[in-house]
Amino acid sequence: MASNFQLDFEQPIVELERQIEGLRKLADEREMDVDREVGPLKDKLSELRSEIYENLDPFQRVQVARHPRRPYSLDYINEAFTDFIELRGDRQFRDDPAIVAGLARLDGHTVMVIGQQKGRNTKENLKRNFGMAHPEGYRKALRLMLVAERMKIPVVTLVDTAGAYPGLGAEERGQAEAIARNLEVMARLRTPIVATIIGEGGSGGALALALADRVLMLENSIYSVITPEGCAAILWNDATKKARAAEALKITAPSLLELGVIDEIIKEPLGAAHNDPSATAVALKKSLSKHLSSLRKLKTDKLLARRAEKFLAMGKFTDG
């Protein structure tokens, strides 16, 4: 069951939690006061959490970013936004549930929110296709971005996908074209766009929602051109070298901030987003509001010029 899922490095935390719970239960049964015993244990628990989570290696971060209990787009849409009205369909082929989108309010302002949605269990994942969109998902997103442009509403995207779906139908219907089209239109969309990587930012499938004026990342999310497993398989013919690949690819938020690919890291509560989804939603909301209000002040031409400059400056090379 996903609600009990734990990563191996979370084991000591879970054990301590059990100890505390056991002590509480005992106290309840025997009507004893255990606050004196529980207090230090709780301190120890926080210490353990910060010790473990502040020293994650890159592949452990990948595991946290993919954690089955990590909040997904709809969790944030429900917690950080109000009045969400879902809008569906690409008007060409079908509605792709791997991407959810619609109008919502953030701090009272209307926004178009678009996010990749993973499933919590098998049934949901069948519907959501594990958060891996088909071309029609990207075309739905594009359609609604154009609606937002006409209504002069900013676009807020939540990125959480292992990648665009690599399937037969996806290729037949032009997965590459769908992503390429989003990039081209987003580059010139005449309304502010703020993208946040909330979990996995998997390659082109992630970028197709993330060509934005501001690109933010939750502390334990990742953003990469290829999965560590894929990279290890191609370069070293050995998918088990994924930890080495995760390290080499520089896919964690601090590395990406240093490379100038993202604008801000949104700090997650102690023990990562899945330990306190509400607090994470509050932090996300605060950061989104701040960036949206500064972007609203810009004239559209200036906004577009800056967006282009931002991406044109990316890359490292020598000239001559």
Partner: protein
């Protein structure tokens, strides 16, 4: 004296043994036809038996589509660095620069096509699989900016396995960078023709290669987002014949036409002259 005597002819001196160089012969990688390398090269690696389009260097492709002597290389000094300190990347780069040339995975410049001065880029598959890193992205962005400034059309000939993973997410960002410039060109009404050759996959297909006002595929070129192996693993069944080939994409509405390499120049020239409202060129000879 013997009764019968056969008149002996003088033996001609033994002919000098012809030294046939190893690479005198070439083989079509599709149908296996063997013929003189020279003959393959004269037909620009298009097999005369099955029409298979083999790979040709970027410079040769540009020669093929431009009016003789009109091409000038630009931005040729841009060189890849190792931004992430990625294990083995500097060695790979050094080998590729040595073996293939200093143009990295794309050769860019200006040349005439049927008398139309055009900004042209051709990718080089031999250079790390035509992978797009920071240099490829920057060269395309600069070429598109030049097209914008000179109001000259843009032609990009793609062949690439996708983004260069040794540059990590910086290579992914080149999709955004090139798309931003193509979008700017389109806003100004400057024509962009994309030629997709074998193979054009991954990040390159998911950005500029699919963004042409006109998209042209070479016959049987593999074009797609995900690699066939990955798709096969994902869906757990064999892929249909001709899947992700130019003809498949044409049928599914992703390409305007499939054109043989040998007719590419004429097609580009006619398209460009029409798009720019120039009268048709009188072709002589």
């Amino acid at each position: 004296m013997a009764w019968f005597r056969k008149e002996r002819k003088e033996r001609p001196p033994p002919r000098e043994k012809l030294e046939i160089p190893q690479d005198a012969w070439d083989k079509c990688s599709s149908c296996g036809t063997v013929d003189l390398t020279d003959k393959f090269e004269r037909s620009h690696m298009v097999c005369h038996n099955c029409g298979h389009h083999g790979k040709i260097p970027a410079g040769t492709y540009i020669e093929l589509i431009t009016d003789p002597g009109t091409f000038t290389e630009l931005f040729g000094d841009l060189t890849s660095v190792d931004p992430l300190g990625f294990d083995g990347y500097p060695d790979k780069l050094a080998r590729a620069y040595n073996k293939v040339g200093k143009q990295d995975a794309i050769l860019t410049g200006v040349g005439d096509i049927h008398g139309v001065t055009t900004c042209i880029g051709a990718m080089e598959f031999a250079f790390m699989g035509g992978s797009m890193g920071s240099v490829v992205g920057e060269k395309i962005a600069r070429l598109a900016r030049k097209a914008l400034e000179d109001r000259a059309p843009l032609v990009l000939v793609s062949t690439s396995g996708g983004a260069r993973m040794q540059e990590g997410v910086l290579s992914l960002m080149q999709l955004a960078k090139t798309s931003a410039m193509i979008a700017a060109l389109k806003e100004e009404g400057i024509p962009f023709i994309s030629v997709l050759t074998n193979p054009t996959t991954g990040g390159v297909s998911a950005s500029y290669a699919m963004q042409g006002d006109v998209n042209i595929g070479e016959p049987k070129a593999v074009i797609g987002f995900a690699g066939a192996r990955v798709i096969k693993q994902t869906i757990g069944q064999d892929l249909p014949d001709g899947f992700q080939r130019s003809e498949f994409l044409l049928e599914h509405g992703m390409l305007d036409m499939v054109v043989s390499r040998l007719e590419m120049k004429d097609t580009l020239g006619r398209l460009l002259r029409m798009m720019l409202g120039k009268e048709a060129l009188e072709l002589t000879g």
